[in-house]
């Protein structure tokens, strides 16, 4: 044996009825390396890692951990072998403290009583050693998403894992948190941990990984040294064709003002602080205006205020010259607001409804599908089939597929289809590409630009700086509830934008 790998997966085949999810994939993870696993949604990354973590049994193939052939039948086996997984959706008990969350499932006892003291001490040691800076006594629901992720990392470290799988760890983080996470992951690798980093974001992979294995449609395409490849090469291998990273936009045709917001103030229910502090702005036909900023500076609340989901304190909202400040959500929607919401599971979809039922969520009461208070399900079905076709929504059972069983990208496509088909004058898109892969992002951006070119007003909110710079015509930067800059992305740099976002720089005057 020339080289001993931390993990060696040999010729793994995993089939589901009718399809081969992992088609003869081999993967070697060296000790102490950061190995990225790149592929589109549904390329087989997660299936492969689920096999390693024992959640699926492969039809054929062998797995070796530290050179020894192993048979992993469940996450418990995997944990015992030192394999830990940081899931994309955290598995934490929100009302428990950090310590209690970490020890959950491997509690240490002292005379039959939970021994929190020793556990806490060990957690502190681990946290210091890897620079995680986690407060062990904080309640999980009080800490930021980035911190919650560190708790997940600590959970694996506490169980003495030396092979860590990160499943799309940056999907939920802000740019700053991503930087910090990358530092942490590099630190872990330096301490000798072997790391699998699942992602479809090429930038991060270039920054963090040593090697990358690219999967496409269940097959391994290549394993490359990251230092010797380019973003373009990786994306081409991943998608199977060339992908454009720049957004093609036509000449801007500015029209009249659609949305006009004046002196909007919003207050949180729990404190007297203004989350949105006296902001004014407007959006005109034919432009994409983007609200940028570090998460939690009032951007989400601004959107909720505009769409009527949250009450506002004061100010006026005018849509097409009509005052909608006091209107309810339905009236606002009908007056011309479409809304692609930030949280597609909480607001965007009724997960236990079928795709068809979700696609008519905004127009089930309109004459197109309704008559005498009855829903014409045949018409709804035809309408859904049209949207599925037009927006290329991939499903198992067509219009009858339950929304819950669809992949994130297809759920988002369904929401976008529904909202764009409303043909509203104002399209509000909040984090429209969150958690999507390159191909899907390209699709979403095209749709937004198409709306702009069709003379609609588009208001976007995004935390991804690249997206902000590429897609928008005008950027409003929010900091602590105020709009601190109104800038043209073509005349500014990402660095400058960062300064505005951090509140270091402020524009004296904005429109």
């Amino acid at each position: 044996m020339d080289e001993q790998f931390a993990v060696e997966m040999q010729d793994i085949v995993k089939t589901f009825p009718g399809i081969v999810a992992c088609d003869d994939i081999s993967l070697q993870i060296r000790k102490g390396e950061i190995h990225a696993l790149l592929g589109e949604n549904g390329a087989g990354k997660s299936t492969l890692m689920s096999v390693l973590f024992g959640m699926y049994q492969p039809e054929s193939g062998t797995i070796k951990v530290h050179g020894k052939p192993v048979h992993i039948t469940g996450p418990r086996d995997a944990t015992a072998l030192g394999i830990g997984m940081v899931h994309q959706h955290f598995k934490l008990v929100e009302c428990f403290s950090v310590v209690r969350n970490i020890i959950l499932g491997s509690e240490s006892m002292k005379n039959g009583i939970l021994d929190l003291k020793t556990a806490r001490k060990r957690i502190m040691e681990l946290s210091d050693r890897y620079g995680l800076a986690v407060d062990p006594d904080a309640i999980v629901s009080d800490i930021t998403v980035g911190m919650q992720q560190r708790v997940e990392i600590l959970k694996t470290l506490y169980r003495e894992s030396d092979i860590l799988i990160f499943d799309e760890p940056t999907a939920v983080l802000t740019p700053q948190e991503i930087e910090e996470l990358i530092t942490i992951i590099k630190g872990l690798a330096a301490e000798g941990k072997s790391i699998v980093f699942i992602s479809h974001k090429l930038d991060e992979i270039s920054k963090v990984a040593d090697r990358v294995t690219i999967l496409r449609r269940g097959k391994k395409v290549a394993t490359l040294n990251v230092a010797e490849t380019t973003k373009e090469e990786m994306s081409e291998l991943m998608v199977g064709r060339k992908v454009s990273f720049t957004v093609d936009k036509g000449e801007q045709q500015l029209g009249e003002t659609v949305l006009d917001v004046k002196n909007l103030v919003m207050r949180s229910r729990t404190s007297q602080k203004n989350i949105v502090d006296d902001i004014s702005f407007s959006v005109r036909r034919g432009e994409i205006v983007c609200i940028a900023g570090i998460d939690g500076n009032g951007q989400s609340e601004t959107i909720y205020g505009l769409t009527g989901i949250m009450p506002i304190q004061s100010g006026t909202i005018t849509l097409n010259g009509k005052d909608i400040t006091k209107a309810d959500v339905r009236t606002r929607n009908l007056s011309g607001i479409s809304h692609i919401p930030e949280d597609r599971h909480k607001y965007g979809l009724i997960l236990d409804y079928s795709l068809k039922e979700n696609l008519i969520l905004k127009n089930y009461f309109k004459p197109s599908v309704q008559r005498y208070a009855f829903i014409n399900w045949d018409k709804a079905e035809t309408y859904s089939e049209e949207l599925i076709e037009k927006y290329d929504i991939r499903t198992t059972l067509g219009a009858k597929t339950s929304a819950r069983s669809m992949s994130g990208g297809n759920q988002q496509k369904a929401i976008i289809a529904r909202e764009i088909e409303e043909n509203s004058d104002l399209l509000i898109a909040v984090q429209p590409t969150r958690g999507l892969d390159v191909g899907a992002i390209e699709f979403v951006h095209k749709q937004l630009v198409a709306q702009r070119d069709a003379g609609k007003a588009v208001l976007m909110m995004s935390l991804e700086l690249d997206e902000v710079m590429d897609v928008s015509d005008r950027v409003l930067v929010m900091f602590e509830g105020k709009i601190v800059a109104d800038i043209d992305p073509k005349k500014t740099t990402i660095q400058q934008m960062g300064l505005y976002m951090a509140g270091v720089k402020k524009e004296e005057q904005h429109a």
Partner: protein, 374 residues
Amino acid sequence: MLKRKRSLNTDSLAALSASVLAAIVGLLLALVILLICDAKNAWPGFLTLITGGIREGGIKAIGDILYQAMPIMMCGAGLAFAFKANVFNIGGGGQFLMGSFVAIYTAIKWEFLPGVLRWIVPLIVAALSGALWALIPGLLKAYRNVNVIISTIMMNYLARYLVNSLIKASIYNVTTGQSKSIPAAAKMPTLGLDKLFPGSSANIGIFITIAVCIIIHIILNKTTFGYELKACGLNAAACKYAGIREKRTIVVSIMISGALVALGGALLYLSGSGRNIRVYDTQPTEGFTGISIAILANNSPLGVILSSLFISFLTIGGQYIQSYGFVKEIVNIVTSSVIYLSAFTLLLRVFFDSAARKRQAKLSHTESEKGVTT
């Protein structure tokens, strides 16, 4: 149509198998209880139980099953309706009592009504009273976020003592300690069911109830209101986002629920079978049986028709077991253990659901693996 049926199958098959399994487990427990009490007579007793007493009672037993099913079917339909909207209405007892009292009161006092209106109007007024009674916890939930389970249980006690004093003040029969009997003119027509099933109290009410179940089924599955109601039950935040007035939906759903449960009470007492409201301190059992029926039916109004007939079948069968020397209390234990085991339906559903979901997840997984290019 054919296509729709197929999608229905995966979901409702899991639900149906859970319900049937729960019923079987319940019956086996009943057999065990009978064996413990009196091993010699256990087997014939059990046979009587599972034949609904038809072996002994013959045609009358069938009529009795229909009659017994009527009020609990109506309650089950009403409660299932609220459960669909994720409003856990435990106030069936109180709503049932209000409906019963109002129906008897109007049947006795409103002598000015002509002909069939003597029983139709009391039914309608009773339903309204149930809706109003349920309005209170509905408003508390929608505008003050008061837990419906707690508020409806408290409303049950209010209803019990309010009805007791109202009976004593208006339609009290001092000798029996019950409400007065309704006049013959206010009795619901039997539509010949008394001839078909001699000796039973079966009447038009069973048809009304089945019709209501079908209407509720149509409302839930075919109308915009049903769409809104189920949507609110599944995801209130998404409803708010979509502009559905979720507060109004909550209030309306519990009002309809209360109206139906009250109608169940009215149907029972307007049958004129000699039953009257007793003035004492316990809740009418129909409100709670209705919960079991709704759960056993997985909140499907059409399922409620089947599950209430099943429970009624057991109840009647249970009455005939007494002829094998089992005391009434044992009979009650046997039938209620079947009913309460129906609560296991929930547990079993979780099991069947996760199995079904796993299957679907596998399917969709494969599909998304199939279609990778975007």
